[in-house]
Amino acid sequence: MNRNYIFLTILMLFLAVGTIFLNKTEKLKQIEPDKLLWEIIQPTRYVSTDQVAKMIIQQDPSLEIIDVRNEKEFNNFSLPKAINIPVDSLLSETSLENFGIPGTKVVFISNDDIKADQAWIIAKRLGFDGMYVMRGGLNCWMRTIIQPVEPPEYAPLTEFATYEFRKGAKLYFTGAKPENTETKKVKVIVKRRKKTKAASGGC
């Protein structure tokens, strides 16, 4: 009888000691490679510049923009309320605190989308959710939001709607005044016909 209890006690102690070692070996939790690939091929992880612009304008409190360019580029220009985390310092503890907050949408931005995408994958491997990549990056931002191009006349109506939105967004982000429409009006020059000198017949 006593021996049974001793056996069980030793077993329990052994298992308890084992759990201590388990916790130490896995410091950063990571997801399996298969699952990571599955997450990578989901197209929903990309957001367009228009969507980001809309969220900023609407002052979406859940939006969190992470700029992964270096500090110099970040100081030169970035989107409003963006946080600078260069790719190299992505794994530091202070930067990891920005990810995985329930209810937030983390959007990675960079010059193009490759660096932002890489940061996304690194963070995803650690199992964080609610992260997105801004497609096209800041170069696309300049082309679409800051310098929108008028669609050709035959373009579908939705394109004109986006164009109108982008024109408004441009004013929001640059603080410029709306273009003066007065000067753009087409001048119509009407030439009066000369009166004929002589009486020129008639009935």
């Binding site: 990571q30 298969d34 990571l36 990578i40 190299d88 010059n111 660096k115 995408d117 640059t174 002589a198």
Partner: protein
């Protein structure tokens, strides 16, 4: 007196059976098809490896089959692959990349020291799978810069792309701060069409009496 105390070894037998079960469980445990070979820090440093990229001008030799240590994998879906692809490339959709057979093939190619080049519609599409395989230890996997889109635009003269920089990502194409400042935006954009003045010319009336009823 309890009945089981008749057999003092009973507990030991049960425990050993238990242990054997666990050991069997460990051995028959399904092994994951892939494992990470690089830790998080190494995965970051590998991103700066210039040798991990495949340049469009390097494609020329592969298409002409002048080199036989490079394999092209098209990771787009079957339909888009059918619409057009790089010659001598093979279609493995991104969904099937981690299939057991494909992993085995990649491992064989790795042993033979054959470079595997992944490409998608653009560089972004292949970037994720490329990073995953690098992290899983496939050092022979490279990503095609520019993707299929850049290739199809320049397939006539791939050698000329050696001096082209437009496919390289990661550099700012504008002076952001300047472009986004309010003073700049008042300037008329060069691509917006300048509206023409409309001049209406009336017909001149003939001077002399010209006919009548």
């Amino acid at each position: 007196m309890h009945e089981h105390e008749l057999n003092p070894w009973r507990t030991l037998i049960v425990l050993s059976v238990f242990a054997v079960l666990i050991v069997i469980g460990f051995f028959t445990l399904q092994k994951p098809t892939m494992k990470y070979d690089l830790n998080m820090k190494e995965s970051l440093t590998v991103l700066n490896d210039k040798d991990a990229c495949f340049y469009p001008w390097q494609l020329e030799k592969v298409i002409k089959k002048e080199v036989n240590n490079v394999v092209l994998f098209d990771i787009r879906d079957r339909f888009t692959y059918g619409q057009g692809h790089i010659p001598n490339s093979e279609n493995i959709s991104a969904f099937d990349l981690t299939n057991k057979e494909n992993i085995k093939r990649l491992e064989n190619l790795k042993k033979k020291n054959i470079t595997v080049v992944l490409y998608g519609e653009d560089q972004l599409q292949a970037n994720g799978p490329w990073m995953l395989f690098r992290q899983a230890g496939f050092k022979n996997v490279k990503v095609l810069l520019g993707g299929y889109k850049y290739y199809s635009e320049h397939k006539e003269d791939l050698a000329a792309t050696k001096s082209d920089e437009s496919y390289k990502k990661g550099t700012p194409r504008f002076d952001y701060a300047k472009i986004a400042s309010p003073s700049n935006t008042g300037i008329e954009q060069p691509n917006s069409p300048v509206k023409k003045k409309v001049v209406v010319r009336r017909k001149k009336k003939a001077k002399a009496a010209s006919g009548g009823c």
